[in-house]
């Protein structure tokens, strides 16, 4: 389904310049993968769609319009209710299509395709030439950015985002393997590209009056913060000066509260707000974000509640300071 949509978009997007030869090849790969973008989660997308005011029968009717396969109400509802529930492929693809219909990405589709391709490349197992291929992709993206620099449009922004992602994904590896210099380089480069991406988007929104959801810009702020956090082993994160400086300069806590007011179902945002309030030892914000987390989903009232690939709040070092406060309140 995803492949078909991309196929329709191809002629308008590619084949009009030598630099697109590589894109042609990548498109073929994306089509072969017939993949779907997994982030943000299906849980968030279902909530975002539902928050338009749809009843469940209306939701199912909308699904019927975009998909030939039917999805039963129980499956849809359980994926709405349970953040830890892994959606099946059919539901994930259908929700992606519906989400794209009502909340289309503002970025050019050919660059979205590159991001999808990179996500599959970086998460592939037993891929012999993975590092070399990522390096090739990085060189291509950097070359494109150099050409685009004066334009400062959404294409440039998304390419810068991809360049940042490539560097970002190296941070944890460098940290765990004691590659101090490479860690600093990757962190610096990721931050630079995320900042460039943000600057370009803000320019498009303010000067060109392009409608861009606040969450798109917020994601970049959070990614920059993640560049600082992930570079530090969890045992050294408490009271870390770099983190404090960035949080103060970026107004992250205030932005996070605004985002939660707009989309209270975003448990990931609430969890990260709680994490940084704990690391900065701010008791009031800890209370605020814990309440927001439980509002997002009541399962988080249990501090041992665990989602696949995440430590529970009770287990994670980042939340140690806040545990006392939460336990006292509850």
């Amino acid at each position: 389904m995803y492949g078909e949509r991309r196929q329709l978009d191809m002629p308008a997007c590619i084949g009009n310049g030598s630099c697109y030869c590589y894109l042609d090849m990548l498109y073929v790969l994306v089509l072969r993968l017939n993949c779907s973008i997994t982030m943000p989660s299906t849980y968030n997308k279902i909530h975002r769609l539902k928050s338009q005011g749809w009843t469940w029968p209306e939701f199912l009717a909308e699904i019927a319009q975009v998909s030939v396969h039917s999805i039963d109400e129980k499956t849809l509802y359980s994926n709405f209710r349970l953040p830890h529930r892994k959606p099946n492929r059919l539901l994930e693809e259908t929700i992606n299509q519906l989400h794209e219909k009502y909340f289309p990405s503002p970025f050019p589709k050919e660059v979205e395709g590159l991001i999808t391709l990179y996500n599959h490349l970086v998460s592939a197992k037993n891929y012999r030439t993975q590092d070399d291929d990522i390096e090739l992709l990085k060189q291509f993206v950097w070359a494109e950015l150099e050409q685009d620099q004066p334009q400062y449009d959404l294409r440039y922004s998304r390419l810068a985002w991809l360049a940042a992602n490539i560097e970002f994904d190296r941070i944890a590896y460098c940290r765990d393997n004691g590659l101090v210099e490479k860690l600093a380089d990757s962190q610096k480069s990721a931050l630079k590209w995320f900042q460039q991406a943000k600057r370009a988007i803000v320019h498009c929104k303010q000067s060109l009056q392009i409608n861009i959801e606040p969450f798109v810009i917020y994601k970049l702020t959070q990614n920059m913060l993640a560049c600082y956090l992930n570079a530090i082993p969890s045992s050294n994160r408490l009271d870390n000066e770099d983190l404090k400086r960035f949080i103060d300069s970026s107004d992250y806590i205030a932005e996070t509260k605004q985002m939660l007011a707009l989309e209270p179902f975003q448990w990931g945002i609430a969890r990260n707000g709680l994490r940084f309030s704990s690391l900065l030892k701010d008791a009031d914000d800890c209370e605020y974000f814990f309440r927001a987390l439980v509002t997002a989903n009541k399962h988080f009232a249990d501090l041992n509640y665990q989602l696949p690939g995440l430590l529970s709040i009770a287990e994670s070092d980042d939340f140690k300071w806040t545990l006392g406060i939460i336990n006292n309140k509850t």
């Binding site: 993640a226 990260n272 430590l311 070092d317």
Partner: protein, 81 residues
């Protein structure tokens, strides 16, 4: 002595040689066999006991992954696309 008698004589001699040969090597061979047999039995018992050790359950694997996560210092933030 006709051919039949000669044949019986040769056959008897062969049986005698065979019987005496077996009686000479018997005790040592038994000992060696029992050694080999004992080793085999021990190996079988070891294999049986190995097979009785429970295979890692999914819960154990989850714990393993958690401890890997802890040792790598990571409750890391995922990037958002």
């Amino acid at each position: 002595m006709n051919f039949k008698q000669r044949f019986i004589l040769v056959l008897t001699a062969f049986v005698f040689v065979l019987a005496s040969g077996c009686s000479n090597v018997g005790p040592e061979s038994d000992a060696r066999d029992s050694d080999v047999l004992g080793a085999e039995q021990k190996q079988e018992r070891a294999q049986e006991s190995e097979s009785l050790v429970p295979a890692p359950t999914s819960k154990a694997r989850i714990e393993e992954l958690k401890s890997e996560k802890r040792s790598s210092g990571s409750d890391d933030m995922e990037r958002l696309d």
